[in-house]
C-alpha cells in the first residue's frame, strides 16, 4: 500500500488533457479528423489518376505488343488515327446532344416542381423522378432494348397508329438511323437521356427553387412578359443548377460503356474503347490516353462554365 503522504495530486486523465489540447489548437483536431479521408483520397484517387496519366505516356511496341516503359507522346498521336478520332468525336457529340436534350426536357419538369407543385404533388414529383434511380441500371437498359427493338413496343405502337412510315423515315436518316431504334444512335440517345435525366432535373429544380419569387415579380413589374423573364432572370439564376446537371449528364455519358454496348450499332464510345483496349488488347497506354480525354474535356467544360458564371452563386 502506498503511504498517503507521497500520493501526488491526481494528474488530469489522458482524455481531459487531449480535450484541452484540442481546445487550444483547433487546427490539430481538424487535421486529425481530415487526415484519413484525405490520405484515402490522395492515394486512391489522385494516385490512380497519376498512374493513369503515367501509363498514357508509355507506348506499345508494335512488333511484340509489349508495353515500352519509356516516355513518349506516340500514344497520344494514335488518338488522332481516324478510327480513334471517330470515337472521341462520336462520344462528345453524343454527350453534348444528351446534355442538351436533358436540359430541354428537364426544365419544364423542374420548373413545374419548383414553382407550382405543392404538398402531395411535390411528393409525386420526387417519387416520379427518383423512382427510375432505384431500379438497377442494367435492368432499365435491357427493358429499353425490348421497348426499342424492331419487334418491340415502339414499332408496334407506331404501326398501330399508322405512323410506321414515320418511324421508318426517321430510321432511314443516315448515320443516326439504323435497322431499328435499338440498333441506331437514336436509340442510344433516347436511353442515355432517359437514364441521366434525373441527374439533370434534381439540381435544376433545386436551383429554380432558390430563385426568389420577388425577382420574378420584379421582372414582371418592370414590364417583362413571361418569356422575357424566363430568359433574362429565371434562366441566368438557375444556371448553376443547369450547369451542375449538365456536368452530370455530360460526364456520365462520356464515361458510360454499357448503354452503347447494348443499345446502338456497336460503334465504340470512349468507355467501350477503354474497356476493350485495357481488357482484350492489353494496350494499357492507349486505354489510358483514351481515359484522359474525358478528363480533359470536363476540365475545358468546367472552365467554360466558370466563365459563364455558373459558380458565381457557390
Amino acid at each position: 500500500m502506498m503511504p498517503a503522504a507521497s500520493q501526488p495530486a491526481p494528474a488530469p486523465g489522458i482524455a481531459e488533457r487531449l480535450t484541452a489540447l484540442f481546445w487550444r489548437r483547433p487546427g490539430l483536431l481538424l487535421a486529425l479528423l481530415l487526415a484519413p479521408p484525405l490520405l484515402w483520397l490522395g492515394i486512391v484517387y489522385v494516385g490512380s489518376l497519376i498512374a493513369l496519366l503515367w501509363q498514357s505516356f508509355y507506348s506499345i511496341d508494335p512488333f511484340s505488343g509489349v508495353v515500352v516503359r519509356e516516355f513518349t507522346l506516340k500514344t497520344y498521336g494514335e488518338l488522332l488515327l481516324p478510327q480513334n478520332y471517330d470515337i472521341i468525336l462520336r462520344t462528345v457529340t453524343m454527350a453534348a446532344a444528351v446534355t442538351l436534350a436533358s436540359a430541354v426536357l428537364a426544365f419544364p419538369i423542374a420548373f413545374y416542381a419548383a414553382r407550382f407543385a405543392k404538398g402531395r404533388w411535390k411528393a409525386v414529383f420526387y417519387l416520379g423522378v427518383m423512382l427510375p434511380l432505384w431500379s438497377s441500371y442494367l435492368v432499365k437498359v435491357y427493358a429499353w432494348k425490348l421497348i426499342l427493338a424492331k419487334e418491340g413496343i415502339v414499332t408496334w405502337a407506331a404501326n398501330g397508329i399508322g405512323a410506321g412510315s414515320v418511324l421508318d423515315a426517321i430510321l432511314s436518316i443516315p448515320v443516326i438511323g439504323g435497322n431499328s431504334l435499338s440498333t441506331s444512335f437514336i436509340g442510344t440517345f433516347i436511353v442515355f437521356v432517359y437514364v441521366w435525366l434525373p441527374y439533370m432535373i434534381l439540381p435544376m429544380q433545386a436551383s429554380l427553387e432558390r430563385v426568389p419569387k420577388s425577382m420574378l415579380e420584379a421582372s414582371a413589374d418592370l414590364g417583362a412578359g413571361g418569356l422575357r423573364t424566363l430568359w433574362s432572370v429565371t434562366l441566368p439564376l438557375a444556371l448553376p443548377g443547369i450547369i451542375a446537371g449538365s456536368i452530370f449528364t455530360f460526364s456520365l455519358t462520356l464515361g458510360d460503356y454499357i448503354i452503347p454496348q447494348i443499345i446502338g450499332n456497336s460503334a465504340n464510345f470512349i468507355g467501350m474503347a477503354v474497356y476493350s483496349l485495357q481488357g482484350t488488347a492489353g494496350n494499357i497506354p492507349l486505354a489510358a490516353a483514351f481515359a484522359v480525354i474525358p478528363i480533359l474535356i470536363m476540365l475545358v467544360y468546367l472552365a467554360i462554365a466558370r466563365r459563364l458564371g455558373a459558380f458565381d452563386a457557390l
Binding site: P62, K145, E151, N179, S266, T280, G282, L286
Partner: protein, 383 residues
C-alpha cells in the same frame, strides 16, 4: 499487367523454366482445391441437381473444391496473375499467354491414367503444348457455329456468305440489317477463314496468322459486313434477345445460344458451313505456384472421367475430349448429341489462338493482336 502478346523467345524461356518443376508422383490430397473456370463449366448440382461432378470428387479425394468464375479470357489471365489458384480452364486465346507468363507449370501426363482416352487430335494440340511439353489437360471444345432462323432458311445455309455479302435470303428479302457478327477482334479470323475459301490467291494458311495484305483483305470484307450488321453481339443473352426481338436471322454463334433458343421453341438451328468454322478448345491448366498440386492432379484425372465429359457436353453444348463419352452411355450424352455439338467437325474448326507478330510466315511477318483490336474498333465505327 497482362502480357497478352508474346515473342517466341519468351515462350521458349518460360517453357524450359517451368519444365523443371514438373511433378513425378501424385501423393495424398491437401484437402483443398481452387479453380478459375468459365461460368457453367464446373457444376456441383446447385443450378440443376442432375449436373453435379464435384460432390463425388470431394467425397472420394477429400479435396474441397472452391470455384472462381471468370467471364472472359482476360479475366482468367488477370486472376491467374494475381495468384492463389490451383487450376484454370483456359481457352486457346489465353492458354499460351499463361504459359509465356510463367503462370502455369508443365503437367506430367504419365500421372494421369485417363490421358490415353483423350482424343488423339487434341493430345498434342498447339494451344497448350510447347516443344512437346504439355501445360494442362484438355477439358472441352466446341465450334463457333452459324446460327440461323429455320423459317427464313428452310435448308441450312451452305456458306458464311450470308453474313459477309449482301444477298437475298430464301424468304425474298435482303440480309441487310438481319445478320450479326461477334463484337470481338477475334472475329477478324472468321473473315480470314472465309477468304481462305473464296480468295485462295491471298495464300492464307491460318486465320490467326495474317500478313499485312491478308489482314487488309480481311478488314475490307469486314467493312462490307458492317453495312449488313445492325448491331454486333457481345453478350450471349443479348444475342438471344436479338434473335427473338430484333429480326436477326443469321449470325456466328455458340452452341450455347442455339441450345437455349431451341429450348424455348424458337425456330433456330445451327450449322458449320463449307468454309469451316473457328472454335474454342479449353484446357485445365495447373498454376505454377499451385498450393494443392496433388488435389489438382486428382481433379485433372477426374475431369477426363467419361461421365463428367458426357454430362458437361450436354450441359454446356460442347464436345467431350474423350470421344468414348459420346457412345459409352456413361452420362447423358449420345452420339447424335456429340455430332450436333460438332464432334465430326474437328477438322473444319480452326481453334482460337492469340495472333502474334512472329508467326509461321516469319519473324514479325504477321499482324499482332493489339492491331486487330484497334482496327476492329475502326471497322465497327464505320472506318
Amino acid at each position: 499487367m497482362k502480357k497478352i502478346l508474346i515473342s517466341t523467345t519468351m515462350l521458349a524461356f518460360a517453357a524450359s523454366n517451368a519444365a523443371v518443376a514438373q511433378m513425378t508422383a501424385v501423393g495424398d490430397g491437401e484437402g483443398e482445391l481452387s479453380i478459375v473456370a468459365w461460368p457453367g463449366y464446373i457444376e456441383r448440382g446447385e443450378t440443376d441437381k442432375a449436373f453435379d461432378w464435384v460432390t463425388k470428387f470431394e467425397e472420394a479425394t477429400g479435396c474441397k473444391v472452391s470455384i472462381k468464375t471468370a467471364n472472359t479470357s482476360d479475366e482468367m489471365v488477370a486472376l491467374m496473375n494475381e495468384g492463389g489458384f490451383d487450376l484454370v480452364t483456359a481457352s486457346g486465346d489465353a492458354s499460351l499467354r499463361l504459359v509465356a507468363g510463367g503462370r502455369v507449370q508443365a503437367v506430367n501426363t504419365d500421372l494421369i491414367p485417363s490421358w490415353s482416352k483423350v482424343d488423339e487430335r487434341l493430345q498434342n494440340a498447339p494451344w497448350y503444348t510447347v516443344d512437346g511439353t504439355h501445360y494442362g489437360v484438355p477439358y472441352q471444345w466446341g465450334p463457333n457455329v452459324l446460327m440461323y432462323n429455320t423459317k427464313v432458311f428452310p435448308e441450312a445455309p451452305k456458306s458464311w456468305s450470308v453474313v459477309f455479302e449482301e444477298q437475298t435470303l430464301p424468304d425474298g428479302q435482303s440480309n441487310k440489317g438481319r445478320v450479326q457478327a461477334y463484337d470481338g477482334p477475334i472475329h477478324i479470323a472468321d473473315a480470314a477463314q472465309y477468304l481462305m475459301a473464296h480468295k485462295p490467291e491471298l495464300g492464307i494458311t491460318s486465320p490467326y496468322e495474317l500478313n499485312e495484305d491478308q489482314y487488309k483483305a480481311a478488314l475490307d470484307l469486314l467493312r462490307q459486313q458492317r453495312e449488313l450488321v445492325g448491331r454486333y453481339w457481345h453478350d450471349a443473352f443479348i444475342q438471344i434477345d436479338d434473335f427473338k426481338n430484333e429480326g436477326v436471322v443469321a449470325s456466328g454463334s455458340w452452341p450455347f445460344q442455339v441450345g437455349l433458343l431451341a429450348g424455348e421453341g424458337q425456330p433456330v438451328a445451327s450449322t458449320i458451313p463449307e468454309e469451316g468454322a473457328t472454335g474454342w478448345a479449353d484446357t485445365t491448366m495447373l498454376a505454377a505456384d499451385a498450393k494443392h498440386p496433388n488435389c489438382a492432379y486428382k481433379w485433372m484425372e477426374h475431369t477426363l472421367s467419361s461421365n463428367l465429359q458426357s454430362d458437361l457436353s450436354v450441359w454446356f453444348g460442347s464436345v467431350p475430349v474423350t470421344p468414348a463419352s459420346c457412345t459409352d452411355g456413361s452420362g447423358m450424352q449420345t452420339a447424335e448429341g456429340c455430332t450436333a455439338n460438332g464432334l465430326d467437325d474437328f477438322d473444319k474448326i480452326r481453334f482460337w489462338q492469340t495472333p502474334v507478330a512472329n508467326c509461321s510466315q516469319g519473324e514479325g511477318a504477321c499482324v499482332p493482336y493489339y492491331r486487330w483490336v484497334s482496327d476492329y474498333i475502326g471497322v465497327i465505327g464505320g472506318r
